[in-house]
Structure formats: C-alpha cells, structure tokens
C-alpha cells in the first residue's frame, strides 16, 4: 500500500523540517568527530574565595532547629524561644522531648546520610537546613551541572552537558557537545568520567530536569550509572524560599538580572538552542554551536554565583 508519510512530519520540530536529506548526507560523509569538548577557566573574582558553610555552623544550626522534633512546627519552635529554650540540649531533660532529642543527637553523630534522611522526612526541599548540608562537602566535591536538550522530554537527545567545578582554587567549566547522533553516547560517557571525583551536584531545577534527563539517556544506551547516590543541591527551591516575593518568575535569566545583577552578553534564549543546533547540523558550521555553549556557560556561571549569593544570605554567623 502507498504510505502517506506526511504523518511522519509531526515527529520533527517545525525548525527541523528543512533539508533533512541533505543533513543526513553530510552526516554520513563528514562526521568523524562525535563530540566537542570546550573548557573555560572562569574568573569568579571575590566569589571564588567565599567559603562553603562549615561543619560547626551546621551543628549549631542543627542544635537550634526544634522543627526536627516530631510534632514541632514553626509556631511551636517560636514558643520554645520565647520560653528561653534556645537549643535541643535545653530539652534533654524534658519528659516529653528527651527521647526525641537523644535520637536527634544520635543522628548527628551518625553523619550525613542519616541527617539527610531525617531532613527528607521533616523539611521541604527549600529548607535552610537542607541547604546547610553543603557543610559536609568541600568546594572541590561539587559539580555544577546544566544541560541543553532538543526538547523537554528525555525521549529526545541531549545536545550539551555543561559542568562547572573548582580546581586548584580556580573555577572551570567543561561543555560536552554531541556533534552528531553518535555523539550523545560519547558525551554521556565523558560526563561519567567527570563525575568520578565529585560527590554532589549543584543545579537549578536539576532534581526535576537535568539529572533525571541524563539518567534516562544513560539508561537508553545501557550506560551503568549511579547518579542517585549524588546529593543534589537544587538551588531553585532555596532561591524561591530565600528571595520569596522578590520576583514572580524564577528563571536563571531573571535571577541574573534581579538578584545577581549579572548581565549576559550576546546570550541566546534557551528556546533558541534547538534552532542553532539544527543550523549546525545542516551546515556543519561550528560557529552555530558557539551560542549554545556560551548560553550553557552563562547558566553554569549563574548557578555558581547563585550558590555564593545564597551562602551570603543564609550563612551569616
């Protein structure tokens, strides 16, 4: 039977309609390199030296956090303060609370994973104490992560994986871009190598988007991964809480403008990433990848600066 292949047009974004045949030919003929790696050393200026919250600060906040006790919420915690009960230790002889308090100190001794568990049960993802878990990490443990994709759906491909990290007191970004359909597999494997020395992600909406997206794409190619063991400091939640009421829209671009006072030069919108990538695929002109990589770099930089900003707001001793 004649097959009306018009139906298949629906599976292409309108931007991708033109020249797919030409594009294929070029891919077949010229695609030797599968992946592009760009590295940048970034001058974070004063921010680079800003320390992560330290353990003592975390412990002092933990001990003052009455909301860790079951049944105690903000209102009750305030009441304790009014009654001059300043820390969990002050409740260690209280008949009603002593058991809880003892357990909370045990959890503190048990370390990060037990603390994370109780935070998960007691706090929302935007709670300051969840942010202060940073004190368990060194700067060098953190991987700032942001990805550029074809669509919002992980059934389609990743274009660029952007990573930022501290190295020898410098901030460095690496951008792994798939140059063709073979390239996505390569960038995922390269990303896996980068992860080896890291212990936690710092992302912006990465809990819902970037990390599950990478997880799905790795599963697609049967690449073993243990992304779930990495703690993810998703700054979206903390920013919403810390700057509540300051702005309506919590996109990185808006945060740059209103909170970080950082102005992006020649940056494209995230929605244009696919357009430029498609242009690159048709022409094989690397210049079309530059705006994507620049955009990705700006996003990573914003995440790093936003972390600094949150530290300065939430970690005043």
């Amino acid at each position: 039977m004649d097959f009306d292949s018009d139906f298949l047009k629906k599976f292409h974004n309108p931007e991708n309609k033109k020249n797919h045949t030409e594009q294929n030919k070029k891919n077949i003929d010229t695609d030797k390199n599968k992946m592009l790696i760009n590295e940048f050393n970034i001058d974070l200026g004063e921010h680079l030296l800003h320390p992560l919250p330290d353990k003592d600060y975390f412990i002092s906040c933990y001990k003052k956090c009455f909301e860790l006790i079951y049944g105690v919420r903000e209102k009750k915690a305030k009441k304790f303060n009014e009654q001059n009960i300043k820390s969990l230790e002050d409740l260690s002889n209280d008949i009603k609370y002593s058991g809880f308090v003892k357990n909370l100190f045990k959890i503190l001794d048990d370390g990060f994973h037990e603390i994370k568990k109780i935070f998960g049960r007691r706090f929302s993802s935007s709670h300051k104490m969840a942010f202060l878990l940073l004190s368990f990490f060194k700067k060098e443990d953190l991987l700032f992560l942001d990805i550029e994709t074809m669509t919002l759906f992980p059934e389609t491909q990743i274009i660029t994986i952007g990573c930022g990290f501290f190295q020898n007191n410098n901030f460095k970004t690496i951008h792994l871009t798939a140059l063709n359909e073979e390239g996505e597999y390569e960038i995922l494997n390269e990303f896996k190598k980068l992860l080896e020395t890291k212990k936690a992600f710092v992302t912006f909406n990465g809990k819902s988007f970037d990390v599950p997206f990478i997880d799905m794409r790795m599963s697609y190619y049967n690449i073993e991964n243990n992304l779930n063991i990495y703690h993810n400091f998703d700054l979206l939640f903390f920013t919403k809480k810390a700057f509540k009421g300051l702005q309506k829209s919590f996109t990185l671009k808006e945060i740059d403008k209103n909170i970080l006072k950082k102005y992006r030069k020649n940056d494209i919108s995230g929605d244009d990433v696919f357009y430029y990538y498609n242009k690159y695929k048709i022409t094989k002109n690397m210049n079309f990848l530059k705006p994507i990589i620049n955009h990705n770099k700006e996003d990573i930089l914003s995440i790093a600066l936003l972390l600094h900003k949150l530290i300065s707001v939430w970690c005043k001793n």
Binding site: M1, F3, D4, F7, L8, N27, E181, N278
Partner: protein, 739 residues
Amino acid sequence: MKNIETLLNKLKKENFYKNQIKEIIKIPDKKPEFDTNINFSKNTLKYLKGLKIENLYIHQAEAIKYIRDGKNTVITTPTASGKTLIFNIAILEELEKNFGVKGLFIYPAKALANDQLNGLNQMKKLSGIEFTAGIYDGDTPSDKKKYLRENADIILTNPYELHQILSYHSKWKKFFKNLKYVVLDEAHRYRGIFGSNVAFVLRRLKRILKYYNSNPLFILSTASLANPLEFAEKLTGEKFICVENSGSPSGIKYLCLWDASQLPEKSVHTQTKDILLYTTKNSFQTLAFTTSRRLAELIRMWANKEEKNIEILSYRAGYEPSIRREIEKKLKEGIIKGLVSTNALELGIDIGQLDVIIISGYPGTISSFWQQAGRAGRKMQPSLIFFLPYEDAMQKYLIKNPEILLNKKFENAIISLENKNILSGHLLCSISELPAIDKNIFSDIDTSEILNIVIDKGLVKKTSHGFIYTGSERPQNIVSLDNAGGKNIKIKIDGKLLEEISITRAYREAHSGSIYLYNGETYFIKELDLNEGIAHAEKKDVDYFTEPLKNEEVKITNIIKSKKFKSFELFFGNVSVTEYYKGFKAKKYGEVIFYEDLQMPPLHFNTQSVWVKLDDEIKENIEKLKLDFDGALHAAEHALIALSPLFAMCDPNDLGGLSYPVYEDGSPFIFLYDAYEGGIGLSEKLYDIFYNLLSETIEMVKKCECESGCPSCVYAHNCGNNNNPIDKAGAVVLMEKMK
C-alpha cells in the same frame, strides 16, 4: 417469587402497548458445573471461603490449570461468570510461592480499575497474603506513582498510561524484571483503531520486558467472539489456549423483542420510558441502557416528571466518581429501583444483578448487547430483557433474526498490524524507548520497510549503539491510541481543545454546520478550517443531528488476493479513495428538516478494500427480468455495508462502499473499504467471511416487509445519491445469483 410472565401479560393491557412485542424468546436456565478436582493452598482456600465459594466453576478451574502450566490463556465466558477470580487466584498463588513477583492488570477504562482494586484488597484481607496493589494512571499523584513503581506487587493501569510510561522503563526496572502476569481484562474492547494501537503498545512493552529478561504470561478475558484465539494472538503476538465452556449458572431469561414502530406517535425513547416506569412500578428493579448521555438524562427526566412516587436516576461517564460509586452501591443494595444509563455501566463494574434490563438501541456489537443483557438475573431468578431497536437496517434485521443475537460467537474482533501509519508511530515510540539492534523491531512483524522510511526521513539513525530515535518531538505525545495517525483536526471551543480526530472523521462528523457528538453532548461546528486543522465548535443543545452526503471514487492500486466464485470474483487489496462531500442533511426524529451545501476539497486516502467483480451474465439475467441493474447493484452495496458490522464488530461509519455498474474494465463492481487511511483490517475479515455476509444480507433484504426499499433494508442514510437508483427486488435477485 416475582413472575415475569405475569408482568409481560399485564403489560399488554397498558395504554402504551400496541402489539410492539414481536417475539418473546425464553432462554432456558443453566445449572452450575463445578470442578471439584482442583487443589488450593490454605491461604487460597481461606480467600475462597471468605467469598463463600466452595467449588470453582469448570471454566475457572480449567483456566487456572492452564495458567499453572505456564500457558497464555484467553477466557471467553459470559458477563458475571467469575473471570476476575481467575486472575486473582493466579496472582495470589504466585505471590504465595515467590516473594517479589509482580502482576500488571490492564483495563480499558479507568472506572474498571477502581472496582478491581477493591477486589484485590479484599483478597489480601481474606487470604492473609501480604501484597501491595495500586492504580497507576493519569489521576495518580506523582509521589504515589513513585511508591507504586518501587513497592507494588500488582499494578492496575490502562493502555493510555502504559503508552506514556514505557520510555521511563529504567524506573520500572524492578517491577518489569519480576513481572509474572500481564492481565488484559475486557480485551474485546481492544479492537479497531484503538485495538490496533494497543497491539503495538503491548509489543513495545514486550520489547522492554525482553530487555529485562522478563517473559510474563498473558491472561486475557473477552466477551464471546467468533475468533478469540486469532484475536488474542494478534493483540499480543503470543500463542494462546482458549477457555470457553462456562460452568456458571444462569436463571431463565426472557428476551422480549419490541418493535417500537408499531406505535409511530411515540418514539423509541418515550416507549423506553414507558416500559421503565411500568416495570419499576411493579417492583422489578430495572436498568435501561441508552445510546447517549443526553438520552439517559432525557428519559430519566421524562420518567420523574410522569411518576413522582418512584425515583428514577441516571448514570453516565462525566458524573463525579463519588456520585457514581454511590449510585452503584445503592443499585447493588436494591435501594434504587430504576436507572437509566449509557454504556458506562456495561463494563464490569459490580452492581449486582437486576430483574429487568431494557436495551434501547442496539449498542453496536452483539458482545455489548450481551454485556448489557448480562446485568439481568439475580441468583438464578428469572429475568427479563427488552430490546428496542432503532430504525436502521441492521437493528431491524436483528429483531427479525434473533438467532443472530443468540449466537454469541458471531462477531470477529479485528485489529490490524498492517496499518503503516499506526506501525510507523509505534516503531518510533519503541526506538525512543530502547535503541534497536535489528531492523525487525517487533519479533512477529516485518518492520524493515518502515524502518528504512523513517531513516530516510531523518527520524532514526543507525549508530554503533543500534538504531536510535533522532526526531525532535516526543513520539509518545504524537501517537494517539484513538486514531490511525495521518492528518488530524482539533475540535476547539473558544480556543480550548475538546478532542482531536482524524481528518476522515472530521469530514464526516465535524464539517461546517454539523452537529458533533462528544460524550453524549451536542456541539455545533461553526467552521472547519482545513488549513489550520481546526474545527471551531460551540456547545449547543439541539434536537437534531446531521449526516453528510457524499460521492466517492475508488481506484484499485494493488490486488493482494482473490478467489473465484460461481458468478463473481472476490478481491482483497489496496485502493485509493476520493470522497466528495457535497452537502449534509439535518434530521429530527428520522425526518429530514433541512439540507445544506458544503464546499470542501475532495478527501483522498489510501486504504484496504474487499471488492466484487460480477460476471456480465448476472446483469443480463436481471435485465431480462425487467429489473433495474444499476438500482440492484446500488441496493446490494448498501445492504452489504449495513450488515458488515455484525461480522466485523465495527461502527457502520468505519466502512465505506461504492458500486460501479461499469468499472474501468467494463464489468460491474461493488467495493467495501475501510474508511481510514491505511485500513484497520475490516476489509480483510470481510473477504474471509464474504459468503456468510452475502447469505445474511440476502435474508435481511428478503425478510424486510417494505415494498421497494426502506432504511431497514437497502436505504443508506448517508448516500450521496439520495438512494437513487435503488431496486430492492433486483438486489435480492442479484445477490441470489451470486450464491
């Protein structure tokens, strides 16, 4: 004991009775048949005892034995014969033996899953076996979904949800790896376009299961079908064993065939209300099935207006779930005496059994008819079923030939694995879920040709990791399980989407000026904008409906098979169809109230067809008898199409037809074709059973009492030539000569 015969005799004295009862068929009672030689564990026995079941019926025991032997099993026994118990025992036995095994229960509708979950929770309580079961569908909150993926032993879902979640298989790893049973309840619902899509969803599921080294058993339940094995195997791609001899008992059933046209001043719907009030007033709990939500509401309203002392309620999809649950409960407890419902209650929702069922309008298939009728008959008590057909050829034929209704294995459930639009969409979904190593993505279907096409279109690329999806849209969002791909039209009200339908359906049902029916509500189509792909609609309560008038052209593109009969040759193959929509008519209570012209470009599509090439001799014979050959051919075409849904289990609009007194090679031709781009397998089935279709059609036309043709035999409501020429007598001669 309530006496049905007395009830019927008394009815004949009512004012609304004017000899409408055409026939009363007494269906004898059936004693239960038990299997006492099947053993169960202590826990299963506790479960059965809790349900007050001492022995299983023979079909239940037979099915369980096959399942224990590791055989895919399709159970095709009547409504309320205890099919659910089979699935439940199967999974219970596994859960007891092997910790961590999983079951996936797939239901065609959300409402069914709720009821079944209650049954599973009851099983947990009664058996003492601990397990977690939950519903995973579009209404499940995301945290509960996560919990179920990680912890549930039994998940209840529907094909729409399955279609969406397969790409997230890595999150389902534990569940899929340990999947032991896939249960498809009410599987006969998976026919036509929906079924063809579901067949591919199941193949996508199987591909993922294979990736996780999982090879579960399939258990299907269906209504009675002519082709349960063929259907189950086509739906799943697995070999099956069939259990069809039911051991469940039933009381005497009286099937009362009611010809509403004996009282022309009252419509079928008004007479439905009259019967409903009569039976409920006589303390017979009654459920009336209608064909639309609007009718359900109207009949309830009329009944309540006329009789204030008896409360009649209505039931339909669209009510709040809590209201529906309450009605179901009250009906079961006997508190509600009379209810008017759409087919929403036809599905396996537990409402107990009732005294009287009124089937007002043929529900489209014999299996639906018996699912509705199966609601009657409380604990071996006699029960009564009224059937009130509407005025159309097939419905009228059924009350003249009730043996067709009584032969429950008459219909074939049909699905197509050959529709290339459907195949290509699911192929792309599947490759987006897992890279493909081989060009044949699904083990039982040759997909290499379509794969080459999608590679050529830049949607799939061969890489060193297999064929991967390279499209730039999520394919699961594009592929709808309710249509066959191709161009779609969005029906919108003030910019808000009501429904998306295929362009072929839009030409027929959503052209400018048409009345579009959606969930039993009526919408006026202000404009069909083909360039934008939008039909602009507004909600409008009207008491008329519209039917398009069209002419067609059919061109044969490829003959796949043929067979020679005495005086004609039968073909099956591919055709290209062009339909010219020239106008539409609006009808109220069967009367045409106005005509309107339409200006639409012709609709062109490629599909499958069965066609007849007649020997010239037939023409000569008919002309010798001074009959109109063109009219005879035209009438035979209409009659054949009218009866086809009886065999192919489809909606009359799923098929198109055309007759040519002189086709391209000079011979007379009759075409019957699938009215969808790519076809959905109907024509191929009609090719296989054509001789039976021909025999029944002859009977139908001959038995019709009209003189020269009517809507109950050879008139087609949507004939572009206004049923002209038509020669009923000629059609009978023509078809008899064909035999």
